[in-house]
Amino acid sequence: MAFSLNVEQSRQLEQILERYPNKMAACIPVLHLCQEANGNWVSPEVIEFVSSRLDLSPAHVKGVVTFYTLFNQQPVGKHQVWVCRTLSCALRGSEQILAHCEKRLGCHAGGTSKDGKVTLRTAECLASCGTAPMMQVDKRYYENLTVEKVDSLLDELTR
């Protein structure tokens, strides 16, 4: 099925284009916009749409999509959870936080819970080292985590 943007999203795309001297520079912001409009993943149809809208080759757009970790090349759960595991967080117990998430969601990092609600991932340094351990849930940071805090967060997400 062909991908397209609604009126409001098309307006946002126009606004993005105004910020740059050429269309190519809008590639990443427009991919973000389209990914969100497409249920949080970049399908082949999204790549086709972006390449034709920005006058780029599909190969260029695909190259960009595959370079950056935040473009999902497969469908993901309703919510996305990233547990930071780089050194500062690891020193404060991120391994235990991740293990607890895996147990609660019944999936390993990289997978999605059976009910399709949460995709669990590990992340490399999210610039929150002073408030470690931390995780990102969709667009929000949760810091100074404890197992209890994680439990109540996951309760909300899987409700």
Partner: protein, 447 residues
Amino acid sequence: MLKETTYLTHSFGKPDGYKLSAYEAAGGYAGVKQALSMTREAVVEEVKKAHVRGRGGAGFDAGTKWSFMPKQATKPCYLVINADEGEPGTFKDRAIMEQNPHSLVEGCIIGCYGIGAHAAYIYVRDELHLAKARLEGAIAEAKAKGYLGKTPFGKDYPVEIYVHTGAGAYICGEETSLLNSLEGRRGEPRLKPPFPAQYGAFGCPTTVNNVETIAIVPTVFDLGGDEFSKLSELHPFNDGGARLFGVSGHVKKPGLYEARVGLTLRELIYDLGGGVLGDRALIGVIPGGSSCPVHLPDEVVNVSDPRFAPYNGKSILDLPLGVDTFRMAGSMLGTCCAIVLSDAADPVLSLHNLMRFYKHESCGQCTPCREGCGWIERILDKIVAGEGSIEELDRIHDIASDITGNTICAFGDGAAQPALAFVRKYRKNFEDYVRTGGKSQTKRLTP
């Protein structure tokens, strides 16, 4: 010496501290008015006098960088702000953008004027959604007041600021990679020369500055360049002003603190950071983000430069944190954010953690880095599993040495440094893993 300041942190922790009203109540947007009343050349001179060393890791003098921009440009010029904060251990730029975004906006106006640009792009990593929202909000507030746009503060010098977003790649914190990413490409670093001041964003002259570097510029004009520089104990090293110091890992009070340049690691860990978690023994500290070499507490400073007379013979923990002090002592200041390791932390697992990071984040453009980071990680996999050999341990040194200096960008060196330092300084711990499977090691990172 510990002298705390609040130039950037005055708004931190206050519910409305990020708003224009709070920023102006604290004296904000005075520096830019001062700057716009001066000539462009005088602005650059003032920043040079302030000795603002780049806060993003390389420590290059900001005023000098600005002076590389063409005097009579034939193309548009750009200011690009590197807000792709992602160096493990570093969390200062995010705090500025979230809690004091107007300092960055004000700095951008001064920066644009100084380098002859009419547009600034702030490249924010995608994960920092709150930071992006706060910046967009601050830009809208400033625009509504006429501080941005066609005539900022009535001056006929148009300035626009745009927030651009990345998509999750540590390498985009490298300036040429950031420029490629800004242009809508894969974030692979470019060869230098040409340097961004000649051929940067969209093929035009560009200055790339770190968030904190630009955010502190208004303070330079509030105080005057000389006064700003003299705040610092390292004024004789041309390392001026005050800056943010982060401390994370095994300390009682991890977080962000602002102080005059001249603070030591001991003061950062014990005075500001509250000491080592659980009053354990300190076994190591990484001074400025994970790409800097780790230091043991008993390392002694020994540099022949006469300016080092007060510090020679002392522990590295008592050397003031400065760009040149640390460089000359064989280390790196980086982003000035320490990661503290207590004796609960297994140094072998610490390096294993870091090398996994570097392998994950290598962009793959240069063979030594792409393959080397993976090889080191795989050797460490074996060593941690108790299946490594002394020969392989030595090979880490060889691989890391072969990465150093053989890649397009500094990522390779940044990945090799921790490997070289950890293996050399914690050799006994690594050998214990090889010989006994790590019997006498903690085998964990948390206390």
